[in-house]
């Protein structure tokens, strides 16, 4: 398996999904060699984790698996002895490492997660003739929001998808996008939704991190939480628009915006322009207790993404008892029944829904309870079964002469 991150060195849901998927497959008897670009102790015993580059995540200063705005196109061949300090250089090292690995021992199948590892996956297939599974957690079209994205990344994605023997999309909207944007035949693409293990969420402690928010809740405020990187993909500008509209009707709302990213300054300024800065709280990047407590303090979880292939955070939010408000452009909406949805651009509707959930206790408690019930039934087991099935149907490709 070729991946770019595993918890706790993940910058988002990609690492979490890879971890749980691999774990599930390992329990079903699959032997996995998982390659990550950096060196770290993951405390994982169910598979072998290999490091492509002998440096810690901090030393590599990985730009994160999602930031496609800062890649430079260095000559990948020339960088062998240089410090791999750009993402492209790191990818070149990664590919070289995978080449050496598969030449020593050929795998039965190659499972590559997202464009970051597609080049390595294609080389491995070329060298071994083994089938390549391209697992799409997000495309450049998603990451770039309503912009065009990086053409180099588009090209790598396209090549990877073309070369793959099978493509896994994390949702139907992602499958549709792959068909629509990359002209890939739909029959080559399987949808396997991400999931969540309900035992995976750590329990909430009694004392919440956000005392101020707690105090305000005691005084009748309702809390809207969003947890995401602050990037164009995540649609937070739309959430602010909706917040302005909602606060006009219902002033007792607080918006807790968790995460960091290049849009923070713009969002801050916008909240001031709208005159609602007092009601919008920015936590910055959070992990651990502060992260759990953000869900715990929330009444309403909003995922305002412009394009969200899956959106694992919504399941976590359900697990921590939030009413869910999801944009229709999110994959997770396909697997959850009890939620409210809206088109990401429809801030009027979003505002209306926020106010409705905040003001109607019955609506809120029903949404919370029903989503929590659904959450309790989720597990990665079904996804694991599907993958085994897919692995079994794949045969090594005959080399054409």
């Amino acid at each position: 398996m070729l991946g770019w991150e595993l918890p706790p060195h993940n910058s988002g849901g990609l690492g979490v999904a890879c971890y749980h998927l691999a774990k599930q497959l390992a329990f079903k008897g699959v032997s996995i060699d998982f390659v990550v670009p950096y060196q770290a102790d993951h405390k994982i015993d169910f598979m072998d984790v290999h490091s492509a580059i002998q440096a810690t995540p901090e030393e590599l200063q990985l730009p994160g698996a999602y930031d496609s705005t800062c890649y430079s196109c260095e000559d990948s061949e020339a960088c062998e002895h240089a410090t791999p300090d750009t993402l492209r250089a790191q990818q070149a090292h990664y590919t070289k490492h995978v080449e050496q690995m598969v030449q020593k021992t050929a795998p039965d199948a190659i499972h590559a997660h997202d464009w970051l590892t597609f080049e390595a996956g294609m080389r491995a297939k070329e060298l071994t003739g083994k089938p390549l599974i391209a697992h799409v957690h997000a495309t450049e079209f998603d990451r770039s929001g309503e912009h065009h994205g990086n053409p180099l990344v588009h090209e790598i994605e396209y090549n990877g998808l073309m070369m793959a023997d099978k493509i896994i999309a994390v949702s139907h909207i992602t499958k549709d996008l792959i068909v629509r944007e990359y002209n890939i035949p739909a029959g080559k693409i399987e949808v396997v939704h991400n999931s969540i293990d309900n035992a995976a969420l750590e329990p909430i402690e009694a004392a919440n991190t956000y005392i101020y928010v707690e105090e305000m809740k005691r005084r009748g405020y309702k809390v809207v939480v969003s947890v995401s990187r602050l990037t164009v993909q995540k649609g937070l500008n739309y959430l602010l628009e909706a917040a302005r509209r909602a606060l006009y009707i219902e002033p007792k709302l607080l918006f807790l915006i968790a995460g960091s990213g290049e849009l923070r300054d713009e969002l801050l300024e916008r909240s001031a322009t709208f005159g609602i800065a007092e009601n919008i709280l920015f936590t910055g990047f959070i992990r651990g207790k502060a992260w759990r407590d953000a869900y715990a303090i929330g009444d309403i979880f909003v995922m305002p993404s412009v394009s969200e292939p899956f959106g694992l955070v919504a399941l976590e939010a359900a697990g921590y008892n939030n009413a869910l408000l999801l944009s229709k452009q999110s994959g997770v909406a396909e697997v959850l029944i009890n939620k409210l949805t809206y088109d990401f651009w429809d801030t009027q509707r979003l505002a209306d829904q926020i106010v409705a959930i905040a003001q109607h206790d019955v609506l809120r408690s029903t949404l919370i309870q029903e989503a929590a019930n659904e959450y309790a039934k989720f597990s990665w087991q079904k996804a694991g079964d599907k993958f085994l099935e897919i692995y079994r149907t794949l045969k090594p490709v005959e080399v054409l002469v």
Partner: protein, 404 residues
């Protein structure tokens, strides 16, 4: 006919807000005391650094000059927040100011205690802060100010009217070209429609020669000597009476470091200037008593001494600044109703104009004078910490009202 230099130095340190996060709001009400001794917002560390580099050596030099030249004069405005810091961390600096005032050759100019822009947001609060400052300097230095300056030299006709009615004999503000038109700042003026009050306008070119350009090696007048500078003044039109050199006190030793030669310049300036007959130094009050106003100045809109715009946009230009100050002053009635001194003090400390100055985005990318003075990574961080503190304060007011 004599000619005078009116040297006026503004002395101020704010209570910077420490990196106060959303995790602390509601839990910890300490906004201004950064525990990390090396933290960029550690007010004590900054004060002590400036005291050592600027306040102590400059005051010592000024005292020597006052003793040596009976005609030498200097005047100050000292904010209440700085007096608090001197009392807390350096009685030595405070003592040196007292010694300077005891020579009788120095004047103290009045202003708001908290270096705030309250004049534009709450006249009630403004008057209160002016009175607080007056009481503070009376008790510390035994002086009652006769001349007024508003925070950042922010000035308009309304301020003149208020100061006139309050009984001040003069106001200091910026000698900005659009208001002077063809006229020179080197005279005493009178605000239009005022009765007894005079106006002293900063000669910003000659003040900035010292305050900003002194150490600029690309400036064609560099290096600036006292001799050259006095020659400029002597070459002015004969009947120009008063050269108003108004600047930040911290020019000496902090904005211009000791190794630029700024102390030598200050040391030589009185001697060099007084060598020429008819030259003298005056305090603002003396200049106002000595010279009749030559004309009226009409300023219906607000000017300040900052940036090329000379307006309030460095403090309330962008939306973050406007939002912050609006929310702050909206709290006025509720906070005063608590009659809780601790709460009201914190609210007033949040009024220090430096807080919104740090949020200025005007030339954020150029790393200019705004960035030089900011202890934060960006104007956005300044906004975040301010808002967190304000939220916490507001919650405290609510709790107070609830009797918790």
């Amino acid at each position: 006919m004599s000619r005078a230099i009116v040297l006026y130095l503004h002395v101020h340190q704010p209570w910077r807000i420490r990196p106060y996060t959303v995790f602390e709001a509601g839990r910890d009400h300490n906004y201004f005391f950064e525990p990390n001794p090396r933290g960029a917002t550690n007010n004590e560390a900054i004060f002590k650094k400036v005291a050592e580099k600027s306040y102590l050596p400059t005051n010592q030099l000024l005292l020597e000059l006052l003793h040596k030249h009976p005609q030498f004069r200097v005047s100050f405005s000292i904010t209440g927040t700085l007096i608090e810091q001197m009392e807390q961390w350096s009685p030595e600096v405070l003592q040196s100011f007292k010694e300077i005032f005891s020579t009788g050759q120095a004047e103290l100019v009045g202003e708001t205690y908290y270096h705030s822009l309250s004049f534009f947001y709450s006249r009630f609060e403004f008057v209160k802060q002016v009175r607080m400052h007056e009481e503070k300097v009376k008790s510390v230095f035994g002086i009652t100010p006769q001349v007024f300056r508003n925070t950042e030299f922010a000035y308009n006709n309304d301020l003149a009217h208020w100061a006139d009615k309050t009984g001040y004999k003069g106001i200091l503000t910026e000698g900005w070209d659009p208001i002077l038109d063809w006229r020179s700042p080197n005279y005493v003026y009178k605000p239009s429609n005022a009765e007894n009050i005079s106006l002293l306008l900063k000669n910003y070119r000659m003040s900035d020669d010292i305050g900003f350009r002194f150490s600029d090696k690309h400036w064609r007048e560099w290096p600036l000597t006292a001799e050259k500078y006095v020659n400029w003044i002597n070459s002015l039109d004969k009947d120009q009476t008063n050269i108003n050199l108004f600047m930040d006190y911290e020019t000496f030793g902090e904005h211009q470091w000791s190794d630029t030669g700024i102390f030598d310049f200050l040391k030589e300036l009185p001697q060099e200037f007084l060598r020429h007959e008819g030259n003298t130094f005056m305090t603002p009050s003396e200049a106002i008593d000595a010279f009749e106003p030559v004309d009226e100045i009409d300023i219906p809109y607000t000017i300040t001494w900052a940036d090329t715009e000379r307006d309030l946009t460095a403090w309330v230009g962008n939306d973050m600044q406007k939002q912050a100050i609006k929310l702050l002053f909206e709290l006025e009635n509720d906070i005063l109703a608590t009659e809780d001194k601790v709460l009201i003090d914190d609210w007033r400390r949040l009024q220090i104009s430096d807080h919104t100055y740090y949020m200025c985005t005007k030339w954020f990318k150029d790393g200019d004078v705004h960035a030089y003075f900011s202890p934060y990574e960006s104007p956005y961080d300044a906004f975040i910490y301010f808002m967190n503190a304000l939220r916490d304060l507001k919650l405290r007011v609510i709790k107070h009202r609830e009797g918790v």
